[in-house]
């Protein structure tokens, strides 16, 4: 994958549709925290909000859906490399449970 080589304003991703500007080199988690967004998923059982905890890729608390792929660690994924971040609930795979075999 090649990284966009641009610098400066306009750089960013969307977070549930909202445009988030960030600086090159920042992680998704850092960019969100800088915008005062502290949580981006809810837990499987109690639906509690979660965001960064260990911040270094160990605890998997900061899971988020990145360009459609669930359960990516926001503290590891680089903001430069993503377009669309979406909050996720539960296991991140919940939509599969709703799938109708007629769909394919």
């Amino acid at each position: 994958m090649t990284r966009p080589d641009h610098v400066g304003p306009g750089l960013g991703f969307t977070f549930d549709g909202r445009r988030i500007h960030h600086r090159p080199g920042q992680t998704v988690g850092a960019a969100l925290v800088e915008h005062d967004i502290l949580a981006w998923r809810t837990t499987r059982h109690d639906g509690r909000p979660r965001g960064l905890f260990c911040g270094i890729g160990v605890c998997f608390d900061c899971l988020v859906t990145v360009d459609g792929i669930p359960n990516q660690r926001a503290c590891v994924v680089l903001a430069d490399e993503v377009e669309e971040i979406t909050t996720q609930s539960g296991s991140g795979h919940d939509r599969l449970a709703l799938r109708d075999p007629a769909d394919d």
Partner: protein
């Protein structure tokens, strides 16, 4: 009998004490019906040892359960928890399994199904080719003749009505509504806790060094360190290590390890409804090939993870990782459930199934050392067969009678004539 015993306990006690005491066959002679008549040391706190402890304690024996490690820490903690009739053709193991299934359902009612995570999920065996489907149908027809509930699933569409996320490229399969699942460690824990309430005691972190005998008859076991536990009978429920324990007791039996890996995914919820496996599994279970065999077994757990098996290799106690086996299991699972491609593997268990050359467990008194009863060698079916094994062991302790529906002679250690003491 306790005044507040539940109907199930009453039933068990009746089952275990009624009718003619075939005292000659008993491990020890009971002094008087219904009395606490002796002490039993059960070696091995896996699922089988837990079941033996439970049934023996409920039959009135003073049971001491010993393990060199922690309860449920061996092969018990490394299996899916399957109680399968679907993988067994007509024969003694199927008979034993059907007894065990009834007992497990009773245990579930008694101990709490949620506590055991007992799930009547049913098994779905899928074929991955037309030829495989034909073979599967023949196998299922034989099972039906033996009384197993086996329902043909004719088309891919029918399969996906049962399992919406299955690949649409599978020609058909067979549904086995009788297959169950438990969480093995929780089940072992519940059985031990229940036995404790009936006076059983436990000693963990101790290792049995050998038998103590008097006049050729067992009078106890000696622990490493020298301590002697007096006993009228000892049950070898050491699972994969049952061969070694047999040697130490002077009653060797040919139990060997057959390595298996199980993959555990991230939690995804109950996306797979049945235990789903491919028809090759049945052949592999019964195979005597030492080389690696894999077949695809996929199922959800209450915890939300998906378990993927099953591999079989004879590599001794090699505890290492095998990326090749893990890749093969992943590829098999992805082939029948394409959604799994994007699901992460979090952990791999590796366990050692205790197998005997004829793939049947060893259950029964050892003629060479009176007082020793074996209850091991269940290979990959130990969780499923544990209840019936515990029940049979309690019967042997009592001196009978043995249940009519199980050909118990198929399991006795006497069958290994070539094994010398």
């Amino acid at each position: 009998m306790a005044a507040d015993a539940s109907p199930f306990e009453v039933l068990c006690n009746i089952l275990l004490s009624i009718a003619p005491m075939a005292r000659g066959r008993g491990v020890i002679t009971r002094s008087e019906k219904g009395e606490r008549m002796g002490r039993v040391v059960v070696i091995g706190a896996g699922i089988v040892g837990a079941a033996c402890t439970w049934y023996a304690a409920h039959a009135g024996w003073e049971v001491v359960l010993v393990d060199r490690g922690r309860p449920g820490a061996g092969t018990t903690s490394r299996g899916e928890g399957n109680l399968l009739v679907s993988d067994k053709g007509d024969g003694p193991e199927l008979d034993l399994m059907r007894l065990s299934r009834r007992l497990w359902l009773e245990l579930g009612d008694h101990l709490g199904r949620d506590r055991l995570e007992l799930d009547e999920k049913g098994g779905l065996v899928v074929a991955t080719s037309d030829a495989g489907l034909a073979g599967l149908r023949t196998f299922a027809a034989g099972q039906r003749a033996a009384g197993v509930d086996a329902i043909d699933v004719a088309t891919a569409g029918d399969l996906r009505r049962l399992e919406p996320l299955l690949s649409d490229r599978l020609p058909g399969g067979v549904l086995y509504p009788e297959d169950l699942q438990v969480q093995p460690v929780l089940a072992a824990d519940a059985l031990v806790a229940g036995a404790r309430q009936r006076g059983a005691s436990t000693r963990f972190g101790v290792e049995v060094e050998g038998a103590v005998t008097s006049g050729g008859r067992l009078t106890g076991v000696r622990l490493v360190g020298g301590e002697v536990l007096g006993a009228d009978a000892v049950v070898n429920a050491a699972g994969t290590w049952g061969g070694e324990v047999g040697v130490r007791l002077g009653a060797p039996i040919p139990v060997l390890p057959r390595r298996g890996f199980i993959l555990v995914t991230e939690p995804v919820g109950p996306l797979v409804r049945h235990k789903v496996y491919t028809a090759e599994y049945v052949d592999n279970v019964a195979s005597n090939d030492a080389a690696l065999q894999t077949s695809t077994v996929v199922e959800s757990t209450r915890g939300g993870t998906i378990l993927i098996g099953a591999s079989r290799e004879r590599v001794g106690y090699d505890a290492g990782m095998s990326p090749k086996v893990v890749a093969r299991l992943a590829a098999g699972a992805v082939e029948i459930f394409p959604f799994l491609r994007r699901v992460d593997l979090l952990r791999v268990y590796r366990g050692f199934r205790p197998y005997c050359p004829d793939h049947l467990p060893v259950i029964g008194p050892d003629p060479r050392v009176p007082g020793v009863i074996h209850a091991c060698g269940h290979e990959g079916a130990g969780i499923g067969l544990a209840a019936a094994t515990g029940y049979l062991v309690a019967r042997y302790l009592d001196g009978g009678p043995m249940p009519d529906e199980v050909p118990v002679s198929a399991f006795v250690p006497d069958r290994f004539a070539e094994v010398s003491v």
